[in-house]
């Protein structure tokens, strides 16, 4: 009764908090991947973008600039200096694991998620 916390007690408290914190990181750490897309140029990571921050990204590939639009959790190519515009025709992607690429300009976009809907796309 009324005993002061000793150094050891404090240490124990700190350790207990660390356990809670580490368990949190272990079990909920995956959520940082939600709602993001990875843009790569020639297979190399260029930028990870938040799909809930609307905006336009200009990505420079060997042929020139490809423009990507992010809007309300989705992303698409809106212009690209390639011949056949297959990347643009593919339209919006939004499901975790989906991928869209402008192969001639070597730019790819894939959606990240903690539990991907797909591991890869057959296209």
């Amino acid at each position: 009764m009324g005993q002061k916390l000793t150094a050891g007690d404090r240490l124990l408290l700190v350790l207990a908090l660390m356990i809670v914190a580490s368990l949190y990181a272990v079990y909920w750490g995956g959520s940082v991947y939600g709602n993001q897309a990875v843009i790569a140029i020639a297979g190399k990571h260029w930028r990870t973008v938040d799909l809930y921050e609307d905006g336009i990204y200009n990505v420079k590939g060997p042929l020139g600039v490809s423009r990507l639009e992010v809007h309300e959790g989705r992303i698409r190519f809106i212009s690209s200096p390639c011949d056949n515009k297959q990347c643009i025709h593919q339209g919006w992607i939004q499901q975790s694991g989906e991928i869209v690429a402008c192969v001639p300009n070597t730019i790819s976009v894939r959606i990240l998620g903690p539990d991907p809907r797909f591991d890869t796309m057959n296209f």
């Binding site: 350790l15 356990i19 995956g30 020639a42 499901q95 989906e98 991907p116 809907r117 591991d119 890869t120």
Partner: protein, 364 residues
Amino acid sequence: MLDKTASVNLAATRCVWRGLVIVSCLLLWLLLLMSCSRPPGVYYEQFMGFGTLIEVKIWGVDEKTGRPAVAAITDDINYMHETWHAWHPGGLSRINELLPTGETFTISPSIIPLIRRGTELAELSGNRFNPAIGQLIKLWGFASDEFPKGPPPAADAIQKLVEQKPVMRDLVLDGVQLKTTNPAVRLDFGAFAKGYAVDLAIEHLKELGITNAIVNAGGNLRTIGKHGERAWRVGIRNPRGEGVLGSVDTFADESIVTSGDYERYFEYQGKRYHHIIDPQSGHPAQGVTSVTVFDSQAVRADAASTAIFVAGVDAWYEVAKAMGVGGVMLVAADGVIHMTPNLKERIYFDIKPIPHIIYSDPLN
């Protein structure tokens, strides 16, 4: 004085006890971290090869194992792409220059298995898959890094090439010596080289001790093993419109290859001309939008997806059976899906309403 010593001793004992408690807590914490820590997860890399995007996913390895494994297959694929390319300077383009002479010449041994396998698969498909029609592909402008813009080639030019009926059987292979009895033969391995390369890449990964992986070369993919406790999941692109047609959980070692009219094409005066040329008509095959083939080998699935596309709605089942593939899903131009019954329980359709599906007889 004595009292003080005793309390110091008591404090020391307490300290030791607390130390022990702290140390055991620390151990417990480490143990928890180790047992609950995230699974090793997926090692992912992508690169450009074979004129497409290549994705490699390996489950359960860290970067130390994953990176050199992917580097090894990247080297393989770059080498194969150069050697088997139909129009870049290299192994195959030299062969195509020498074939019309009718003379016998020596070829690179690395190309022999491709010629053999290509011939087998072409024969089984009734030459609907035909790697000997290099001249036709070139005439249509699809043997180029640039996309053709039209107009389509003149009808008599197409007719002239079709009448010469180049087939793989026209090649005479003796050791490393090659010649053709039909001067119209030119090789274009575009309809099965990616599948062949994916098979070799998977074999290489297996040799490196990797048992759970996906190699996907622009829609020509093969999976081995699983993603941890669950199967690998593959999404199949909607051939018309956006998004995903459906998804499938793959078997432990399975290839899925799609050929679609949306992959390479040009539009001229409102008509679409795609890259899957029917060797008999000399024109892009009609009536089909995409064909997805399931098989144990990516090379057979790749060749069969082209052959079945060419065969069309009426003849696809016979060709699938003759080639011995595992399963087929064909999306016809009218939107109807033709499918082998073994895929019924496996494909989960994403699009609404679910398309009209016509099931064939079982393949075996």
